[in-house]
């Protein structure tokens, strides 16, 4: 066990855990931030995607000891009032079915749009290919990302 000071969603959190503990479980079990989801545990599905600095990363493969000074943003901290353009676009397009994978989809999409504010369809598909949606909301996700890109650029 070891002590870590983490910057999560703009707050500093102190925790005492095994250094190998993935951020996914630090967030869910220790910080009670359950918006970040467990899907596969091997970085294949993207349900656990969070932002490390500005980058979308798989929190199931990110040991708490590797985070250091870098900031972590989860779905709970993406915006103060749930009004990030991507969140608004998801509501507008009524994207979700079961909704379980969508936090990961949104976190990946929001980091991607920051890098590439005017993506083509192919660029969206490439960027999102690591996020599985078992309900099959892919066409709506793509629409929502385009919609968010347009809103952000307006």
């Amino acid at each position: 066990m070891a002590n870590f000071s983490l910057k999560v969603n703009g707050k500093t959190e102190q925790i005492d855990v095994d250094p190998a503990t993935p951020m996914l479980w630090v967030l869910r079990d220790h910080l009670k931030l359950v918006g970040t989801k467990f899907g596969c545990g091997i970085a294949q599905c993207g349900a656990c995607t969070v932002h490390l600095g500005d980058n979308a990363v798989r929190s199931c493969q990110l040991p708490v000891s590797a985070v250091g000074e870098q900031t972590i943003t989860t779905i709970e901290g993406l915006s103060e009032n749930g009004d990030h353009p991507v969140q608004k676009a998801w509501i507008e397009e009524d994207v979700y079915q079961c909704g379980y994978c969508q936090a990961g989809q949104i976190m990946n999409a929001s980091a991607f749009l920051k890098r590439n504010p005017n993506p083509s369809d192919v660029e969206i598909e490439d960027a999102m290919n690591g996020n599985i949606c078992r309900c099959g909301t892919y066409t709506r996700i793509k629409k929502a990302i385009k919609n968010a890109a347009n809103t952000s650029n307006a």
Binding site: M1, V17, D18, T21, P22, W25, R28, D29, H30, K32, V34, G35, T36, K37, F38, G39, C40, G41, I42, Q44, C45, A47, T74, I75, E76, L78, E80, N81, G82, Q87, W90, I91, D94, Y96, Q97, C98, G99, Y100, C101, Q102, A103, I106, D121, I124, E125, D126, M128, N129, G130, N131, I132, C133, R134, C135, G136, T137, Y138, T139, R140, I141
Partner: protein, 734 residues
């Protein structure tokens, strides 16, 4: 308007709900914003009045509607309350939806399965709203001393024109709650619907996009421990012994012990299918610590039955299809004789592997069991059956068992089988503490309860004019007999024979989205395409001719046929028109068509594969649906799109295989699911507007699309694909 008696479980409308004021209020419209303003908080009613078990009305006119059925992503949490709100005649923006717990006194069929929630709930939900509306009118009639028959309602306002009086529902709620429940109520005319048939966004949407705790796996309770299981590594193995010493001393681990989940003599429910009698439980302070202990633990298993392999399943199914069934499932005319006189005979065999459900949220459940009572909460499609299983396993009356339902991160049939709920209860009982059981993805994927593996052999005979004169189908599946003998083309062919076989296996199976249809539709629709080609006919015209035959002169008693040929032909004609069908090729795309009836709904699809990409990509799917009245078009289309993508994905990429009883796939690195790049670029959905009572949409769009894809693949590549998954070494679509 329809006048109906409220005999339908009148107690639902009479009993004052025990739910009043309890439960988590899930906000809708302005209530749904993450941080309600003080003004919004002030707008919450000071008092709620129970009108009946389905709804309560606040003193300011806000309405809380209970959503009775489990929500697995089929959107019933929005669509079922919409039906109540419609008949209540309230403004949807003033509705708050709450998930009801299991309560068999008030609600019927609290089950998510078979695409039946809307169909089975339709009448009761309408009546719940209409009864409440009637009581509000009665309260106003008494207050104003005017005849109830002269009172009207609209969007939560009660009015009496002659006396120029009006009041909001909130003002009349307290006295309405004391009114007698009417013996009969008037339901709205379909043409007067203002909520049903309009786009309404998912009531949980704002909570989903902000990561609120919604799912079973998100549950956090005071003093709660985490539990994980270790189940046998292969079908055919059982628990023998283990060495717990080294693991028990690991950081955060509270206990490690074997559990008899299903001991001898326990009264099991059908929902206990796929159960594993004995396994190991690991309980600890955190999930990661349990995962580490799971890795370190050495369990000894012993072989207690056959160790089966995929090659063996395949051979056994083939063998079954080479025999004759003792009894035909359906027989019209004489196929043997007809084949002798046929000008052409086409015979093809299709197969499909086992599939895992792979809900994105792995199985989990919260349980807090004491000697006096059991509290359970989590993702379950069959709460009523879980309660019965628990009553037997815990030896506790159902009155002492309280089951709540969370939103589910997918169901697809997997959560019909609530063995994980029983496991959680047994672990909590042993620990004398509240626990949350969480499966790893590997536990989830290798536990069983799979879509069965199937094989089907079709033989068709055509006369010299290309008319279908004989049809012989033989189907077999693991623990499942596959064939719906009274579905199309039964009734359309003079000589028809259906035979079915079951292969007994110890690889456990269960209902997987659109059971049996999920394979047989694709096989049958691909076969019909090949038969139409042999007959030299357009595939849509060939099918329409057959439906026409059933309409005009059906073979056998038409009552025996499961389907309505007019509605079937209707969706085909609609998709033909919408897709601009002009044969199998259009604008450089390879097209395939398919139509199927299942779960009381009719679906026809045309699928275009773009040939200018390598491998060809699913460019567009047109889908025509007849499921009667559409409750929420925006959500209905979502279900259709999801079913199409799910069908294309599983038929193309997914399979579970076995070597000596051991699953060869255990996570998404070895089990392929469809991803963004492989999804169709566009899906267009169209509905037949016929005012027929609604049927479900969770399943019907999945089965036929596999046929449409097969047929388009043939046009694109010149190859027919008979065995799923279609993918070979070379990507077929993507």
């Amino acid at each position: 308007m329809t006048l109906i008696k409220t005999t339908y479980n009148r107690r639902s409308f009479i009993k004052s709900s025990a739910l009043a004021g309890g439960g988590m209020v899930i906000g809708f419209s302005w209530l749904a914003s993450c941080n309600p303003t003080p003004e919004q908080v002030n707008n919450m009613p000071k008092e709620w009045f129970d009108i009946n078990g389905f709804l309560k009305i606040g003193d300011n006119g806000m309405v809380t509607i209970m959503s009775p059925n489990p929500e697995i992503g089929q959107n019933v949490k929005t669509s079922m309350p919409m039906i109540v709100a419609e008949e209540l005649d309230t403004d949807w923006d003033n509705v708050i939806v709450e998930q009801a717990p299991l309560n068999t006194d008030i609600f019927q069929r609290q089950l998510a399965g078979g695409s039946q929630s809307i169909r089975a709930g339709w009448q009761g939900l309408r009546m719940a709203g209409a009864t409440a509306r009637h009581m509000l009118i009665a309260a106003a009639a008494e207050a104003w001393q005017v005849p109830a028959s002269e009172i009207t309602t609209a969007a939560g306002i009660i009015s009496h024109k002659a006396s120029n009086k009006s009041a909001g529902y909130g003002e009349m709620a307290s006295s309405a709650a004391t009114m007698a429940v009417p013996e009969e109520v008037t339901l709205k005319d379909i043409k007067d619907f203002v909520i049903i048939g309009t786009d309404r966004r998912n009531v949980d949407g704002p909570n989903i996009v902000t990561g609120k705790s919604l799912f079973g796996i998100d549950i956090q309770e005071e003093g709660m421990l985490i539990a994980m299981i270790v189940h046998p590594p292969a079908f055919g193995f059982s628990y023998k012994s283990m060495d717990t010493e080294s693991v028990k001393s690991m950081a955060g681990i509270k206990d490690v012990f074997p559990i008899d989940v299903y001991p001898e003599g326990m009264e099991k429910q059908w929902s206990d299918g796929g159960s594993i009698a004995k396994m190991v439980a690991i309980v600890g302070e955190s999930t990661w610590q349990c995962m580490m202990a799971k890795k370190a633990l050495n369990v000894e298993w012993e072989k207690t039955s056959t160790l089966e392999s995929t090659s063996g399943h395949d051979e056994a199914l083939t063998k079954l299809l080479n025999t004759s069934a003792k009894e035909a499932a359906r027989k019209d005319g004489d196929v043997a004789k007809a084949f002798k006189s046929a000008s052409q005979i086409i015979e093809r065999t299709f197969s499909a592997p086992f599939l895992a459900h792979n809900t994105m949220e792995p199985m989990n459940f919260y349980a807090d069991v004491t000697a006096e009572r059991a509290i359970l909460n989590g993702p379950i499609q069959t709460p009523e059956f879980l309660e019965k299983s628990l009553a037997s396993r815990l030896d506790m009356p159902v009155e002492k068992i309280d089951i709540k339902m969370t939103r589910m991160g997918g169901g697809f049939g997997r959560r019909l089988y609530g063995t994980f709920g029983v496991e959680a209860a047994v672990i909590s009982q042993k620990m004398q503490a509240p626990i949350k059981l969480v499966y790893s993805r590997e536990d989830d994927m290798t536990q069983g309860t799979y879509r069965p593996t199937y094989k089907v052999k079709y033989k068709a005979g055509l006369d010299k004019d290309g008319n279908l004169i004989a049809w012989h189908v033989k189907g077999a599946g693991s623990n499942d007999d596959l064939i719906f003998e009274n579905r199309f083309p039964a009734g359309a062919v003079d000589n028809y024979l259906a035979e079915k076989f079951i292969l007994d296996t110890n690889v456990t199976t269960g209902a997987w989205r659109a059971p049996r249809s999920n394979f047989v539709a694709g096989a049958e629709q691909a076969f019909i395409d090949e038969v139409a080609e042999a007959a030299g006919k357009d595939p849509i015209e060939f099918r329409l001719e057959l439906f026409d035959r059933v309409i005009k002169s059906p073979v056998g008693d038409p009552e025996n046929n499961d389907y309505d040929p007019k509605r079937y032909a209707g969706v085909l004609k609609l998709v033909k028109e919408k897709s601009g069908w002009d044969g199998n090729q259009k604008n450089g795309a390879a097209r395939g068509v398919s139509a199927y009836y299942c779960h009381n709904s009719y679906v026809a699809q045309v699928l275009d594969l773009a040939k200018d990409t390598n491998p060809p990509k699913v460019d567009k799917v047109w889908c025509a649906v007849d499921c009667g009245i559409i409750i929420n078009p925006m959500a209905a289309k979502n279900q259709i799109e999801g079913g199409i993508i799910d069908g294309i994905g599983h038929a193309t990429y997914s399979q579970m295989t076995f070597e000596d009883g051991k699953p060869q796939q255990s996570n998404f690195d070895t089990y392929r699911l469809i991803r963004h790049k492989e999804a169709p670029k566009e899906i267009e959905s169209y509905f037949v507007d016929n005012g027929i009572d609604p049927t479900g949409l969770g399943e019907p769009s999945l089965p036929p699309v596999i046929g449409a894809l097969s047929n388009a693949l043939y046009r694109a590549t010149g190859q027919r694909h008979y065995n799923q998954p279609f993918i070979t070494e070379k990507p077929l679509i993507g």
